[in-house]
Structures are given as C-alpha cells and as structure tokens.
Symmetry: D3
Subunit: 250 residues, 6 copies
C-alpha cells in the first residue's frame, strides 16, 4: 500500500516551524505540515474578561480562519458573508480548549492571550497544524511576558483516518476526502489525551479500529512534540518592546 | 460512591420517548433523559439542495437550539443576538453527522429531511438526548414517506465523564460541571461507533481511562437503543396528510 | 352555522394551564388554547436597565418566538436568518405592553422580569394564548420575589374575527386564514381594554361589526380570567432557590 | 381646555400635500401634518414576488423609516446598527396592510408597487401621515401604470388619544407623550375601518371612551380624505418616462 | 460644446442653501446642486468617545445615506439588507475627514458633532453637495454651542470630470455616467486642498488633464464658498433650546 | 533630512515579489514593500455576474483584508464583528477599480477574476503593495486562462506624503502616522494616472505641494513597474490543472 505522496501509513509529512514570523506579535509561528501552511500568532493583553476579574487567573482564546484561496477553489470570506460558519466555530473552540490544557492560568496571572491561526495554504490537517504551531507561539508569548512557568508540558495534534480500509497518519486533502473515518487527536508531550474526536464518514468503526487509530495518533504526536521542542530550543525571537509599566520584564 | 440522585455510576437516568408530540410534523418525539427534555421534529420536503440535484440521493440536516429559560439562568436568544454561537453550531453539526450515519441516502431518494432539536429543559446531556430522540422522529418521517428502508439500524448517544476520579454514565448538569473529562459517544444499535468526542476539562486522561469511558458508553447506548425500539414498536402517529402527488404513499 | 370543530360562534376552545412547567424559572406556565400550545417563562433579575436606575421602578419585557415546526410547514429559524422578522417583533411588543398594564412597577421595585413565550404548537391565537399564559407566569414570579402586590388585576387576551360574514370568538388556524377581519383584544379582569387591534383582511368593517366583535371578545376574556384565577388558586410551584441576599424573601 | 397649539380637541393640524416631489418616482408626495413631514414614494416594477407568479395578481409593500435627526435627539441609523427595530417593522407592516386595503390586486396585474415613507421631521402622527400621503403616491403610480382602476376608494389615517382625561384628535408629540391611551385608526373614504389599533399607556380604557375616540377618528379621516381628493384633483405629475415595452401606456 | 442643460463647461448648477430646515437640530441645511437635494443635520452631544476623554478635544463624525427612491430606480435600504455598502462607507468617511479639516477640535471642547447627510434627490454630485451643505449645518451647530471659533475657514466640494474628452465642472448624473475620468475635490475657502480624489473610468488621464481638472475645481469651490458665506450672513435659525446646564450659552 | 530607516526622501523600500506562492490559485504573488507583506491571489471562474451575462465582457473584483496581528496591536476580525469596516470597503474598491483599468474586459471574455489581497504584515503602504502585487497575480491568471491579451500595460501604486514639511515617497507606518498629507497614486506603466487620492491630515496642502507629491509618485511607480516586469519575465508558475472543457487552453 503506497500513499499518493510515497509516505508509509504511519508517517508524518515534513514538518517545519518558523518562530517569530510576525515580528510585532508577542509570539508567532509559521508551521508547515507538508503543503499545509498555518500562520499562528499569540497576542498578549493585560487584564482578563469581566467575568474573570479579581480571580488572579489568566485567559486564553483562539480564532481559526482560512484565506479565501487557501483551497483548490475559492471560498467566500466570512467577513463578507457577515457570519462565521459552523466549521470555523468548531475548530476555533477546539484550538482554544486544547491550548488551555497546557496553560497554568494561575501562573499566567490576569493576562489574556489571544491565539490567531490563519491558514495560508490548505492540504488537509489544518486544525492539527494550527494547534501544533499555536503551542510554539503561546510558549514564546509566555516567555515574553516573563512567565515561562505558565506553560506546562507541550500540546500537539495530528489527524488519523481510515482510507481504503487502512488506518493512516496525518491525512493530506486527497486522503481526507476519501476517508471512511476521520479522527483528530490532541496529546500532551507525555502521551496523555487532551481531545479525541473521531467521526464515521459513511462507514462506522469498531473498537479494534479505534484502538489502531489511537496508537497511530499517539506516536505521531510524540514526533510533533519533538519538532516543537527543537524549534523552542533556540533563542526566542525579539518580539515587540516590553511595556514600560512591567518592571522586571523578561 | 453515591451520585447526587442515587444512581450507580453505570446507570442511565429514566428515559421516556413520546412519539408524534408535534402532530403536524412528518416525525416528532419528545424525549426525556431525567429532567432534560428535548423536542425533536423531522420535516420532509421534496427535493434536495442544488449541489445534489440529479444525484438520486437525499439529504438530512439538523439544527439544535435551547429555549432561553431551559437553564438555571436565562440565556439571550440567538435570534436577538443576530448570530448563532459556536456551541450551537458545533452541536447542530454533530447531530446532523450522527443521523446521516443511519440513513441510506439512496433509499431516501431526492428528499430532504430537516431535524429540529429544541431543548425545553436542560439538565445535562442535551445533545445526546437530542440525537437519541431525533432518531425516532427520523424513523417516523421515513415511514411517512413510504421509505422505511431509508433508515438502517439505530443511532443513539450518551455522555460519559470522569467525576471525582470516577468514570460515570449519563452526566446530569451538576456532574457535568464538575467533570475532569467529558465524552459524548454516538453508537449504532450494533455497538459500532459513529462519533467519539472526548475532552479533557482541566485534567488530561490516559488510555486506560479512555477505555473505561468507552465501555460505559457502549453499554449505555445499548439500553437507549432498546428504549428507541420499544417506542417504535407501537403504531406510527398519524402525521400530516400525504400530498396528493405522491401516489401510493405510505 | 357550525364551526369546523363543532363550537358555537361565541365559544372558546378548551383552555388548560400548567403552572411551573419549567421548574427552574421563577414563574412558568404551559398554556393550551385547543391545539395551540405556548410555553411561557418569567425570569427575574435584580436591577433594571441603565435608563431606569435609581428610579425605584421595575421593568417587564417580553419575547415571542415559534419553534420551526410548530406550524404545518417548517419555518426557518430567525437565529439562522440572523434577524428577527416583523411579525415576531410586533407580537413581542404587544405582549410586553399588555403585561406592563397589569404591573405596578413601583411595587416591583428595581427588578426586571423577562417574559419568554415560545410556541410549541400553533393552531391560531398564539399571541393571545401567550398573553394569557404569561400573566400566570408573571404572577408566580412576583410571588417568588415576595412582591405579590406588584401584580394588580388580571390580563387576558383573545382573538375574534369575521368568518363568512359571522363574528366568531377564538379563531383556530383554518378560521383565521379565511377571516375577513381579524381582531385581537386584551382586557383586564374587570373588562376594561388594554389593547384593541383590528385589521381588515380584504373586506373592511363597519362600526356595527366592530361593536359585535368587541362584545364577543370581552365575554371571552372574562372566561379566560376565570381560568387564570383557577390556575393561580392552588399552591405556587417551588421555583428556584431564593438568593441568600434577599433577607425575608417569600 | 386649550391644546398647546391652540387647537380644539377635535381639530386636525394643517395638512398639506405636495404631489410629485421626487420627480423620478412613478408616484410621490410630501405630506405635512403640522410640523410632521413625511416623504412618500411609490416605485413600480414589472413582475411580482415568486410565490405570486402566474396568479394575475399584483403586490404592494411598504417600508417606513425616520431620518436620524427627524426627532428632538438624534437616533442611530438602523443601517448602522445592522438591524431594523421592532417599531419600524410594526409601522411598515401597518402601512402595507392599510394600502393593500384600497388596491384591487387583479386590476393591478402582475406588477409590484413598493411604498417608501421616510420621515424628515417628526412631531407625532408620523405613521398616520405616512399612510395618508402614501395613498396619494400610490394613486399616481397606478395612473402612471395606466391602471387607474387598480385603486378603489381612498384610505387615510389619524391618531386619537386621551390626554388629561380628554379625548383628542391628531396628537402632536408633546400630547402623545402625555397620553393615557393612544389609538391609530385607518378608514376608507366611506368611513369603514381598515385598521383600529388602540393601546392603553398606563391607564386602561372603557367602552365609552373607546366609542368617543372612534367618533373623533372617523371625523378626522373624513377631512383627510377631502385633502387627498383635492390634491389628486389637479393634473398628475409628469413622472418618469414610460418603458417602451408597455404599448398603450398612460 | 453644449451640455445637456445648456451650461458652459466651467459652470456650476444653481446652488441654493436653506438653513435650519430641520428646526430641532442644532444646525441643519437643505442644499440643492440643481436637481440634487441633500438634507444635512449637525447634532451636538456633550462628551466625546471614550478614547478621547480627558483630552480637551472634540470630535466630528459623518454619515451619508440615500433615500431608496432618490434615484431613477429604487435601491434597497441598507437597513433592510442589514449592512452598509462600500460606497456609503467611502462617502461617509470622505465627509467626516473633510469637515474635520475646518474644525479646531480644541476650540470645540469635549463635545461631539454628528453630521447626517441624507440624499433626498440624486442627480450627480451628491457627495460634494453633502460636504458643502454640511459645512453650513456645522457652522450653525458651533454657533449654537457658543463656540463660533471652533470653525475656521470654509470647506466646500465639487466634482469635475472628463466627458467626451472635455473637462467639465459639477457633473450631473447623465454626465457622470458617461465620464472617462471623475474627480471630487474638497477645498478650503482660501483655495487649499483638503481632499483630491480622481479616478479613471475606462480611460486613464495624464498630468495635463489632471491640471485642467484641478483648475476647474478650485474655481468652482470658490463660488460655492461664496454661496456658503451668503447663507451664513443672515441671522442664525433658532435651533433647539439651550440646555439649562450650559450657563452662558450662546 | 534622514528617514528613520536611512532612506532618501525619494527612495522606495526594498521590493520583492514571489510569484505562485499559493500554488493552487490561477495566479498569486507574495509582495514585500520593506516589512509590509501582502499575499495576493487571483481566482478565475467561468461566467460573469448576472447583470453582465451575454455581454461578451468579463469582470474583475477585489477584496482586501488584514490578519488580526498584522499590526502592532491586535485588531478584531471583521468576520467576528459580523461586518466589514469602512476602511476595508474603501481599499477593496480602490484595488478593484485600479485593476480594471489594466484589463481589456472584452479580451477576458465572460470570465470573472476575483482578487484577494491579504495583509500578513503591515508597515504602511498596504493598499499600494496590494495593487502592485495583485497586478502580477492577475497577469498570471490571464496567462493561465490562455488570454494574455486581456491585460494591457501594467498598473502599480505607491504612497507619498508630507512628513515634517518634506514630501516623501513610500511611507512606512511611523511616517504615515506623522504625515500632514497622505496621498496614494496608481499609475500605468506609461506614467498615466489611474487613481489619485490625496488627503489632508490636519494640514491642508497647496497646489505646489500637490505637484511635488505627484512627481515623487510617478517616479516611484516607474520603479515598481520595472519590478513587476522583472518578476513576470520568468516562466509562469504551474498553476492548477486546466479544466478539461477548455479545449486549447494555455
């Protein structure tokens, strides 16, 4: 069984992560999962939403979007349509939940970090690339804030699916379109689960297949965690100037 | 370990299903999971969306909503806010995907069935009650159409979660609010998976816990499938008059 | 002259009122006018809109809506369309005005009561059933607040119309569709008018016909006032717990 | 009892009607009820909405709006708010219903007339001035279409109310703000009713008062019908060129 | 070369300005450029937007709109469409920028003036008529505020364009539709530029043509400045009552 | 006089253009004006809007947007706000008009090209970079369509402004913020004007200054035209597959 791009069933596409691509953001990363390219930015603002004031806890939110021509045919802009679609809402919520799982909101203090994940090119796996890249941007934003302990352990994500009866890792668009089952798995860098979302597309799946898919995903996330660690091993990008008001700073 | 309402950890709340509650709909059901009450309607229209015309295939969609005072405190209407929230979108999409898994769209022919799930009272598990009740409404709508073979096997759903370290079935609202992990599982009546959505709320979960949760859910869905079958065993509700144009009819 | 359901021209449909149907609301009622079913909830919040602060006066608002399949054919949700239609706006405003006519806003104090009227099944007269049921929910909410004097006298509503030249009380949907003139009348329990809205549908009406319609409506409202009084004669539903801050409470 | 502007209780404000003010419209009128000024336009388009095609019947719709500074303090534009308010919806619907009462839709043929009523200055009675002026614009549009028989009899409207216990005709803004009861009445030129909308503002009203108000309104409408007839007695405005396709034309 | 209305290429249409047309506004003007009619209102409110508080500076904004039947064929209302179009946005921003160029925001103090320009009849040049008329309304509003020094020098605007190869001043609609180049120029009363917006419509333009167009526009604005000065030479309209809180007042 | 980045007053920032960045689009370019980065895509669809059908002419539209963190502080998404702002509308319209000036719509045939310009990083001059880059994407899309003659001559754009009294070319953000006058100029590659938009920001400008700014802009556009020509001199990117239906193709 050969995949369209010559990969083995349990093989990720090439992953590259460029930190600090949007140099005026407190954290940012351009991540590639093969031809899929997502630009992730982490924006820090002092203070938290009203319902959280005085709690001593911070807050992390996320928004996902695609450029109109990230895909094979052009999609209308949601800003022009005047409303956000269900898929966008669903993915934005998934990214936010996933990243809050690796943040210690007490260590973050009463600061808010807004994550933006904008898909520049889409070839399958955009939501998992977004989560994986956003973790790097978030880590840099915590560093910029002088609060590196706010981020605990890594979080990465990968898609798995059943294509032609075969469980496969990190589906490209042509594979995803043909998949019977599609699953997105978010793991910590110690292999625990943050989120498991499996969907039967036409063909339901049994427990044995579910187990195989989870095995593939956990192994894939371990490799992604390594790519994140490698990217974060270097010196942090400069980032924007520190506000005068924050004494000690980074 | 006793639950707040005296149930065992692996016990469902009382389930009741009233068919034909909205008597002018082609299919409808009022379902109770304990105090949670969801009104489900299946509306048949001839024809399919434009992108599907001439395919010979039908289509099934779903929309979920809550009455403003279904909850402990009043929520603003989405119609008044002028936009649908992310949670509503996410659940509507889940219901639609789940029900399409039990429909043979070829047998349905070029007809569209719109499912409406409106939560009248919310005490946890509204989306799983909605799926379970909507299946009954959908089955009656297929019968009304004279196409009973369009629906293949049953689909039901239940929530499971980890509360105070203990895996539990069919969480009520107070349990759901306190859960470390929350999972919604949609199964066929033969125990295969249609959808698995597990989310760590604050505490990540390992493979062993995931397995326990899946066991609980599969057992719970089997009981719900029985409740559906019991409800559907009786004579169908009258439903609205058949259109003159559909010769043989039901 | 026999009506389609055997009623006399001056006869109401069967009226039933179930108090406390939404048990976590401060007041609620499920009201039936024949096959028409409306769920009414009264939600209390402390405080008033900004323009009213410091006045010592309370406020009452209302919102009306229909489930998509309350009607013979499905209507698109206003939340999905992203805007509220003119009919919905018009009825919501009518309900709000009618209920404020029976409230002593000074006795209410600086509290706001939001009334929600959701039509579960529609067979004509939904707005008049909504007003009649909402009065019961509102009365219970005032009781829950410990301010029973805030509500002064009853308010009920009924439709009248001219069908085939004959003035009739409490039109069902098939009658309403065929009516030449349609009128909704809101009365106090002492027979004074709160609102009179008469509309010629195709055939204009003269003063004599207007007088006959008003006579029918006043008599119908008197019967509805009795049904309300009977419902309210029993013990109040438990309602949600009283906030700790409100000392004496109910 | 003297009114703030010296009128008797049963006296209209000065009424003036300028036909053809928007000279490129098929019909238009600028109407003044005292300081209240409303610009009314009737726009003809060939064809009818889809649900009416092939019926041989025409259609008439109406939209009402106010300029932001028509009032004492500036109101935000509904276009900027992105939604139409309940009051605007309610009045637009009232105007449309009222004008359809004087149109023979069969005589109109499959043409649509859209009425626009824009309030340039508001001093009470804007909806009644709008109806009264729109009738003139509509009559001219029917003439332009070469279908003068499409319009049958006149329609005019006036407000009445109880101020300080006294029933009064054609309330100005200061009177309307102080009124206990406010009623808008739409009559044909033969004194039959098209619409009666009475609302208790704080003080409910009895049958005797209702009768007095109706008497005042019917007398007021008779005077307005005369003002309309006078305006329409002169030669019609030129209006826009006739489309080449409409053979005989006017 | 004769223009359709007999004007010379460098000739304005007749300009008339009626001050105080909306008598309850702090400043207002109805301006005609030939058949083009724009109603301009200036509304004063105490205070400034939040981002400006405590600065000692005022603020001026503007909104432009057209009545649906100001044009040859009816345009749908932006309030009904639920969104403001690009052209409206663009013109509103142009008017706001132009008027801020003649205001000394320090002299204005922490007050906000909202300019509304509503086109009642459109025959080309609506944005330039709006700017020219709005200046008059703004001047009166500054006077009403007792701050005549807030307005420094005049601002007026005119369109120029190339029609059939000939540069022309103050294009009417039929000319504008046929123009190869269209330019709107906003000048101070001393002939400096506030805004220059030239657009090639199908045929690009060279520097020599640009120079001719600017010459025409500067000369046209000088005449408009005179018309403004003439209008403002008379006594100011009464305007609404001064608030009690503003001691000295005007 | 030295600029903050060492440039001369009449010097452009470094310009780079990468063709084919979004490889599945019919034409695309990533353009940098110094730190400003804009991704431009040209999407071809067969057919034209309804109002143009049967004319034999094509159509070109454009949409401009910024990523939320393209700027120093994060901007809310217009999709989340539910409406497009005035600035976005204004720039989208400018880009569309500018590109239509270099297209022969007859040569294009009944095809539509949608231009998307998304700002990834913003440091002033985003609209001029967008126009300059979009021309390259548009040229490739015409080539892909096999209609290279549809594009006639080049179009490029640059900003000029007066900073500290000195006219300068190609303003960076810090310069733009401090400018007294800001002008955007769009030229053909033969130096004619497509669009001239000059705005006084606080200080009005006279004819002599306008002439200096135009000289600077014309010279800058000539350099940009050369950069476009250089980019287009190489072989075209592969682009997406040709539709089977288009016989000859490229």
């Amino acid at each position: 069984m050969t995949r369209h791009d010559g990969r083995a069933a349990d093989q990720l596409r090439d992953v590259t992560i460029v930190r600090g691509w949007q140099d005026q953001a407190e954290g940012s990363a351009l991540i590639n999962f093969g031809r899929t390219r997502v630009l992730c930015a982490a924006s820090v603002t002092e203070g938290v939403p009203r319902w959280r004031k005085g709690s001593g806890l911070g807050w992390v939110t996320a928004e996902y979007s695609m450029l109109p021509r990230a895909t094979n045919t052009r999609n209308d802009r949601e800003s022009v349509k005047g409303r956000i679609g269900g898929r966008t809402h669903e993915i934005s919520r998934l990214i936010g939940r996933s990243l809050r799982a690796c943040i210690d909101l007490k260590q973050l203090g009463e600061n808010t970090i807004a994550i933006d994940c904008d898909v520049l090119l889409a070839d399958g796996g955009t939501r998992t690339a977004a989560i994986t890249g956003a973790y790097v941007a978030l880590a840099d934003a915590c560093g910029w804030l002088g609060r590196p302990k706010a981020i605990s352990g890594g979080v990465s994500a990968v898609s798995v699916g059943v294509v032609g009866g075969v469980p496969m890792l990190d589906l490209a668009y042509v594979e995803d379109s043909a998949a019977d089952t599609d699953m997105n798995v978010v793991c910590t860098d110690t292999g625990s689960f943050v989120e498991v979302q499996g969907t039967a597309e036409g063909v339901v799946f049994d427990r044995a297949m579910l187990d195989q898919l989870l095995d593939l995903a956990v192994a894939g996330c371990a490799q992604l965690a390594k790519a994140q660690a490698d990217a974060l091993a270097g010196p942090p990008p400069a980032g924007p100037p520190q506000p005068a008001s924050r004494g000690g700073g980074k």
